[in-house]
């Protein structure tokens, strides 16, 4: 019952978010600040993870596809497909649920604990619109982050493949270009937009409706990470079934 109640509360939060919008002069500043906090500040970790995981994917693929039976370009092809279809949009989103999701929950939760949300409400400000809406708009730049992740993942794969002596650069580039289906990019970016919305709203929900003190802020962050991951994984399955199935 509580699960259904929370789902209802989540949708009511989204509905309330659209009422009484915050002044554009203030909203503009909030969007820029949230873009910096959520997207720009994640560039480093996303680049690092993408480059090295791209390399690991390639090494594992190369090791399991040795022998004359497999064409040379297969490693590049499989790396590209893995990174574009699943690693960059989904796995990076799960990493972001830990980094950005926890940040959103704890920052909004701390505002709840210290009565800052009450202060906004008594001033007549729609606190949900003030706190959640700029995060959604900021995270609409999330596909930009995923594009970088795709590029660096493939680059990391190429570096590991060539410098590890598993294949040649020309074979890897051939693989990247083989049987490329542009719709796969569309599919990846549709997923990314939906995950961005989940990344902005699910952690905000857990922070906004948390009750208690500082200890509960930590608990809410953990809970928010779990539910953001669960939601991303469920939507990943549904979108894949709808668009590729």
């Amino acid at each position: 019952m509580k699960f259904l109640y929370n789902i209802g509360l989540y949708f009511l939060m989204l509905k309330r978010m659209l009422r009484k919008p915050t002044k554009w002069r203030v909203m503009k500043e909030l969007i820029l600040k949230d873009t910096n906090d959520t997207v720009i500040n994640s560039l480093g970790i996303i680049s690092f993870v993408s480059f090295f995981i791209g390399g690991v994917i390639t090494i594992q693929l190369a090791l399991s596809t040795t022998g004359s039976f497999y064409p040379d370009y297969l490693v590049g092809y499989a790396t590209r497909e893995t990174i574009i279809l699943e690693f960059a949009p989904t796995i990076i989103s799960i990493i972001m649920a830990g980094k950005v999701g926890s940040f959103i929950t704890s920052s909004i939760g701390s505002m709840r604990v210290t009565e800052q949300i009450d202060a906004l409400e008594v001033m007549g400000i729609n606190s949900i619109n003030y706190l959640v809406f700029p995060k959604i708009i900021a995270l609409m730049l999330y596909p930009f982050l995923i594009s970088i992740s795709m590029f660096l993942g493939i680059l990391g794969g190429m570096a590991a493949c060539v410098y590890g002596g598993y294949s040649t650069m020309s074979a890897f580039i051939d693989g990247i270009q083989t049987d490329f289906i542009p719709f796969h990019m569309t599919y990846a970016f549709i997923k990314t937009f939906i995950f961005a919305f989940i990344l902005a709203t699910v952690p905000s929900f857990h922070g906004y409706y948390m009750k208690g003190g500082a200890l509960e802020v930590g608990k809410a962050s953990t809970k928010s990470f779990i539910w953001t991951c669960v939601t991303i994984i469920i939507f990943n399955f549904l979108i894949t079934q709808m668009l590729l199935g």
Binding site: T114, A119, V122
Partner: protein, 253 residues
């Protein structure tokens, strides 16, 4: 003036506020006092519109908060200044940005004009050179003064303070009390303070409302509280020997 008529509020079938009726006058500092758990904070939150209530009505200069449109509610709320127990300053903003916040939200003034107003109220609360400090760099007393500055920057008609001197040393507490009283008179606003600090009661309580178990048990002024024979008030206000002596001296005079 704020008039409360037969206000009742429950949580999970437990009635916390029981049929309270009272009024708070403009230009006067009114105090809500009572033991912990007496319903003071719930009552204040009902007045602020943070809690919905089942019965009764709250009239802000004749305007019923519950029956007006969303737009009118927003307008009314923008005329309310609030000082929270923990100050509730936005910790990602400087003191200047905190004080400027209500102006930014509800006015279209140019930045320079807003800054002049901010500097004026910061001077009024004796924080002239603290514009660029973060709330975390300010002491408890300074944070309370910033919260007062933020509450009055938009020239409110009503000022609500939830335990404004909790956690402060006696000297700073008196400074904060006097500041609130002076501002109430200067701006001719309706001020309601939620407190269980007896110094505040004696110093600035022009009107006092005493709550016990969610009921209004007594109301009067800081002069009348010395001479009252109400048992509940005597038990609460004069629970310490010091205040018993103070009362005795006052009555002997």
């Amino acid at each position: 003036m704020i008039r409360v008529k037969n206000l009742s509020k429950s949580f999970n079938n437990k009635t916390i506020i029981k049929n309270i009726s009272c009024q708070f006058e403009r230009g006067k500092t009114s105090l809500i006092i009572g033991q912990t758990g007496s319903g003071k904070t719930v009552f204040l939150k009902c007045l602020l519109g943070l809690h919905d209530y089942e019965k009764g009505e709250i009239l802000f200069d004749g305007v019923n908060f519950k029956t007006i449109s969303e737009y009118e509610k927003m307008k009314l709320k923008s005329s309310i200044g609030t000082v929270f127990q923990g100050s509730a300053l936005f910790d990602s903003m400087t003191i200047e940005e905190n004080v400027m916040f209500p102006l930014k939200m509800f006015n279209n003034l140019p930045f320079d004009e807003m800054l002049d107003r901010v500097n004026f109220v910061l001077k009024r609360v004796e924080l002239e050179n603290s514009n660029k400090k973060m709330p975390s760099e300010a002491s408890g007393g300074m944070q309370k003064r910033v919260a007062i500055a933020r509450a009055i920057v938009n020239k409110p008609n009503y000022l609500f303070c939830d335990e404004p001197n909790s956690g402060l040393d006696p000297k700073t507490a008196i400074i904060i009390d006097n500041l609130i009283k002076e501002i109430t008179e200067e701006l001719n606003i309706t001020t309601i303070i939620n407190s269980h600090d007896m110094n505040s009661v004696m110093e600035i309580g022009e009107k006092i409302i005493f709550l016990k178990n969610g009921k209004l048990k007594w109301n009067g002024s800081n002069k009348e509280i010395f001479s009252t024979e109400n048992k509940d008030v005597l038990d609460f206000v004069y629970s310490s020997n010091l205040y018993k002596k103070v009362r005795k001296t006052y009555l002997n005079q």
